[in-house]
Structures are given as C-alpha cells and as structure tokens.
Symmetry: C3
Subunit: 307 residues, 3 copies
C-alpha cells in the first residue's frame, strides 16, 4: 500500500545503528502500531459537570498509537488516546518498534519524540529530500527507533507523528507520552498523563468542536483521576494542538519550575508541565483548562480523592 | 427569587465546618456582596495615550463583588472592578461572608478562590449533582467561605465566580484578588492588582470590544499607578478572560520565578505574575499588554513615578 | 517631510542628558536608520521541508532598521530583518544614533528598547501630549538614544518601533535585538537571534499570510543555522507579533529559567527565551514554532550541525 506522498529516496531503510544503553541502563522495549479506530469523544453522552445531555453524534475515525505485545502479536488493552506512556530512567534506551498498520488513510506516519536524545535516523521527522530512515513509515511498513535517556532528558515529554502530514495525523490522535526519571528515583504512587487537544469538524466530520483531554470531552467522559490522602501524585499535562492551554486543579497547588506556588499553569503546543504534590484534600474536585472557552467545549474532568 | 438553573439538592446548606486559623494566625473577615451596577469602561471618553476621543457609549451592566461593612450593613467605597483584595498571612483563615444581592439577572453565583486551601464546601464551584453548599448561592442567599492560608499559598491569586454560568458572570466582572504573604513579611510600600480581561459586545451590548484593565480601557481610564523613587513596589497581574496576555512596563524590569530578568511576562487565564522591584526611575511610563491587538483595544495605562 | 500624526510639542528636542558608562564600561555606538525596502519573504520560492513550490508573489514593502557606518555615511551589509543586534556588557551604555530615513510612508517612528535602563527621553515611546524627545522621530529627523546596561539588564531583549503607529510599523519589520552579557562573560561560539512574527495581507498586500522567522517563511528561506559539535550555542528567540509562539528544536534540549530541561518554550509578544547548549548532535535538524498552524504557514527552518 503506498502513501499519498512519495517516499523520499534518502528515507529508504539504510543500515542504522543499534544504540546501547549507558552502563547499568536498560533497553525499554515497546511495540506500537498506528491504526485507525472508531472513537467516541463523549461515550457517556452527558456532561456530568453541568448535568447536560450531549449529542449521540460523537464518533470519529481516530488515528492512534496502539500498544502491542512483542512482535506486534496482539494488542494490549483497548485502543486508547493517548498511546502508551513510555517509561524509562536515565541511562536507558527506549526501543520503540513501530508499525504503520493503517492502510485506508494512505498516510506515511512516524514517531517523533521530545526530550530524549536521538541520532538523525531516529528523529522520526519527514524532511522532504533530507528525510532519514525513520521519517517516513508508509502503510504496512515497520521501523525501530532508539531513543537515549540522557541526564538532560529527565521529565515528561510528548511523542507524536511527524510524517509528511503530521498536523493532520497528530490532530487525529497520533500522540503519546514519554516519562524519564532519574535512575532509581521514587516512582509516584499515582501518575496520570493528560493531553489537552481539540477535535474540530474537519477532523471528525461532526458538526461541533470539542476541547478534549485524552480524546474525550466533558467531565465523566474525560479521565476521572483517583488518589488517596497521603499519596505522592504526579500529573503530567501536555499541550497537543495549536492552542495554548492552562491547567487548573481545584483544591490543590504545586510548584512551577522556579519553585513558586501555582494552581494554574500554561502549556503551549507540545510543552509539558508536571504537577507533583502529596495528596491532602479528600473530596471530588474539578480539573480543567482555565481558558473559559475551552472549559465550555469540554476540557474538564473529575478528580476523586479518598480520605 | 430563584435562579435560572435549579439548585442541586446536594448544595442545600448542610452543617459546614468552622475552620480555625493555625496557632498564631488570624481570622481575616470580609463581607462581600455580588451586585449589578452600571459601569463606565472609558469614563474619560478619551484615550490619553493617543489623545483620541472615545465614544460616549461605554456603559454596561457589570456584575461585581462589592466590599461591605460587617453584616453587609453598608458598602465600603464606590463599586469597583475588581472586588476587594483579600489580604492574609500564612496561618490565617480568610472568612469571606458572601451574599448574592442581585435579583435581576437570576444567576446563582459563588466565590471560587485560587491558591488557598479549602474543604470541598468552600470550593465555591457548581458541579451539577455533586455541588456542595458553597457552589450555588442563589439570588438573595448568603454563604460564608473559609479559606486556609497554608505555607504553599503564598502569592497573589484570583477569586472569581464558579457558579453554573461562571464564564458569563466572570466575564461580567465577578472577580477579585487574594494576596497571601509569609507571616510577618514586609508589606510593599506600593501594591497594585491589575486584572487583564476583555469586555465583548455580547457581554456589554456595546458595538465594540474593549481590552480592559480592572474594568477600564485606554490610558487615563485604566488605573494610573503611582510610586516614588526608593519605594518597594509590587504589581500583581492576573489574566481574567480566555486570552493569554503579556504584561510590559516601560523603564522597569523584574525577575521571573526562576530568577531571570524580564520586563514582559505572560499570564494565562487565572494565572498571576508579580513584578516586584525597588523604584529607581522617575517619570511617566506606559504599562500595557504587549499583545499589540490588545493594546490597540485599550489594555494600556500610565505609571507615574515621583522623584 | 511631515508625518501623518502631528508632533506633540513636548517631544520637540529639548536638552537631553548624555549618559556615561559605569566605571570600566564602554560606549557601544550604533548608527541605525529606518528605511523602506522591497523584501522577499520566500526568495527560494520553495518550501524545502515539504519540497513544495511557493508562489512568486512574495515581495512587500518592509520598514526596517538598517545598520549604518558612523555618521550614517553608508549601509553595512544588505538590508535585513531584524535590524542589527546591539551587543553590550554590564556597565556599558548603548548609544543608538537613529535616523528616520523613509519619507514615503509619512510615519514618525522610534526605537523602544526592552530590558535596558533609560531615562524617559530614551524610552522611544509616543505618549500623546506626554511624548518626550525620543518618542517621535519624524521622516528625515534624527535622535540619539542612551540605554544603560545595568546588572538587571543581562539577557536578550527586543527593540522595536513605539511611535504613534507602532503596531503597524513594527508589523512591517521595525524590530531588532539587544544582547547584554555580564562583564567579561564568555561569548558563545555561535549565536543567533530569531524573531517570530507574522506577515499578513493588510501589511504585505499579498493574498496569503506568512508565519515568519526574521522576515522569511519556510525552511530554506528562513535562516539556516550552522554549528559544529563541541561549540557553545546560544539561540535567542523573540515573539514579535500579537501571537504566542513556542520554539522547538529537534534533537536538542536546554534549560528553562527555573533549571528544568525543555525542548519547546513559549514566547509571548516581545518576550524572549534563550536556548543555550553545547552542541553534541551532528546532522540536519528542523527547528520550528510548535503551533501547528504556524508551522504550516512557514515558521520553520534548518539547523545544520557539522561533526
């Protein structure tokens, strides 16, 4: 199956290096395939915040990263937006075996990671005649990316399509998260990745826009986060469209990178912020983008804290 | 008087806890009522910066937080946008006695604070069937909020309506500021709160949009800030609409939360930044949002520094 | 030649002070004139990233800051967007001799600097009847600005027009950069200033909008950055329009002002961010604004790193 854009000759699979972990580091191996699925934006057909019914017309053809067992043998869990979160520590190499399993849309796609280090072959970026091996994975093709978790890569980062039509295909749902920790760092008790992005009529074929979190819109449909008092909580929040968002959580606060307390943090496109706090406030809380017009179009959710 | 949205049964006043200050802390008591007033956006009918006349059609029905004497006995000062700034130190509890005194708009409204800690009852957020006591204050009703100034709450924060139509009513003017300091911290010699927000035709019924600071547009109408050389100045700047703004002051600079010098700082919706500096530059200065299209619609003002 | 706006009487050249450098500091003298030039936005007529042809209709009348030899005797180099970068160290005074050499547009223009300290006369801001000497430089006139590089001015800052029509004339191209370093600080081996701004049909008379870097749009037309492995690289990135942008560089990362690793940083209008890193990753890389809709309109470029 060919894609709508011709494969640049420079992108034809060359010998590409196998990157090894740093001493003491690990290979973190993932099998991920791009596929299209029917995706419901508001499966509840209700906005629980305002207790309003929502239209039953809420399904579109999403293009997603699907988490697979080794060798792409079988899917792990249900299709999801975002794709699997790739966890690693400093010194590790993330080995992302990628397969473009969709043949209907005729799109060459890729995985382009933020934050981690990589050779040009593993950039996952279409670049016209300068495209390298991993920058054009045509329908039916596979490619393996090697991403190095150097010390400067600590943090939460997005990965997303960067093929020849990456604005289109990232908007359709081709994105996920990478979380790199210091070696041996304490793992938070509770960790969530929240991707903020819009789904517009040209993408969905629906008659309205949605401001989404993880492919879903309006509280009850978006992730209902859960934690218990005393737990160490990490919320990784990503901008995944052309908008600027700002994430607000009721009843809680965290520190910005300069150490100042905040409860509302701006994230631009493909920027990340992590809210890390020890849970101390039981109850049901709203979280939402504080851009009022985005809240009103669905960028809201629940956070339930058990005493 | 009933509101246009029905009161959720969970919001009917339960027994709610009286929160006490931490040892050595104080109760900071405020009486605040929501009311509608006729508000002039450009009382001078002139843009002093460009020396242009402005239309006399500049009045709209604002919905504001009015500062009252104890027991809501009488107003303190003139109606204002923003509402009163609530000052406290770490260890204090802000006790906000709130009354919804408007009966014409038929809106249930609230006070939702940022930054401070609060029990779910004092979140001031409408949440459909999950709404708690303080999340729906119908016309004519009262509610008392208790907000705890924990150590992580140091900073400047907005409060605003978070009732069932909070986008609408916050846009009409229902917002104010909270400033929490370390206990015993030096109070700045000069302190201003500047709320950046737009007033659009659907809100005002006027035939043009205004980019406002504290409900006013264009230099001469917006606050003319004043200070003297040698004074310790704090400017608390808040985003209070769906836009991203960035605040610029001529002839001055401050430090971002990471310690880097800046003279232009982005604030997203309900984000805050504080410019703190020792005044050293006498003269008349412009301050403005550096989004050019916002300056052009009025988000500008004067700062007069005496030698 | 008079300008379209009348010169405020307060702006008529008074005796203005000559500002001296701090002990041990220098006068950094620049001669700069505002002039109009025919400017090609996409001189290659090609988008090298996507290997697409671009329309030959890509020229507009830019209003630019031209770098001149002493006494405005002759231009230095070709006309450029942005204007010359003004370099200085703490303790220095930048002496900017400015001449408004355009007589066709009938615009009074100025140089307004960010970051540095200046007396009101050297603010370069039109302020209606409060305008000072340097705030209105009519066609054919000259003015000399003195800008003090105090310790708090370390960083990269824009300068731009702030005359009576500064939104218009800044949009036409009247902007440049100031870089202030600690005294005796190591100079980066490679340093670039990248100004992110849009050129719209009302400014250009063309039939489409461009999202530009330094007056150019689409990779191959925008600056192709160059460095070698081991070099100390500084990229100074500026927002120069009414949009918020976020700058992403493939294959690299830097620290935000709080010390957190990032590879995508938001810049608001007239905000700056500096990405500083030791080059360690040879190859051809994309850099771009990560607002997808800005990438698609040209805010992209190449970075070539030699091994």
């Amino acid at each position: 199956m060919t894609s709508r854009v011709r494969k640049p000759s420079a992108a034809i699979a060359q010998d590409v290096p196998q990157i090894q972990p740093a001493p003491g580091g690990q290979r973190r191996e993932y099998w991920i395939q791009a596929e299209t699925v029917k995706w419901q934006i508001t499966p509840l057909r209700k906005d629980e915040w305002h207790n309003h019914p929502l239209s039953s017309r809420n399904t579109y053809t999403a293009y997603i990263y699907r988490h697979m067992t080794p060798g792409f043998a079988a899917p792990i869990g249900q299709p999801n937006i975002p794709g699997p979160t790739l966890y690693a520590e400093v010194g590790d190499v993330i080995v992302a075996h990628f397969r473009n399993a969709d043949t209907k849309l005729r799109q060459a796609v890729t995985m382009h990671p933020h934050g981690v280090r990589y050779n040009p072959e593993y950039d996952g970026a279409y670049m016209g005649k300068y495209t390298r091996a991993g920058g054009f994975v045509a329908p039916g093709e596979e490619f393996t990316y090697f991403w190095e978790c150097i010390p400067g890569a600590v943090g939460a980062w997005p990965y997303h399509d960067h093929g020849p039509n990456h604005t289109l295909n990232t908007s359709r749902g081709l994105f996920g998260a990478i979380v790199v920790s210091e070696r041996g760092a304490k793992v938070p008790d509770v960790s969530y990745t929240l991707m903020l992005h819009q789904l517009t009529p040209p993408i969905t074929g629906l008659n309205r826009a949605f401001q989404c979190i993880n492919g879903r819109a309006f509280a009850g449909n978006t992730p209902t986060l859960k934690a218990k008092v005393g737990q160490d909580v990490a919320l990784h929040v990503f901008g995944m469209d052309s908008n600027f968002h700002d994430f607000h959580m009721h009843g809680h606060r965290w520190r910005d990178t300069g150490g100042a307390p905040t409860d509302t943090t701006t994230v631009g496109p493909s920027e990340t912020m992590t809210a890390r706090f020890t849970e101390d406030n039981p109850g049901r809380w709203l979280y939402h983008c504080h851009v009022f017009s985005h809240q009103d179009e669905g960028m809201t959710g629940w956070y339930d804290v058990e005493a």
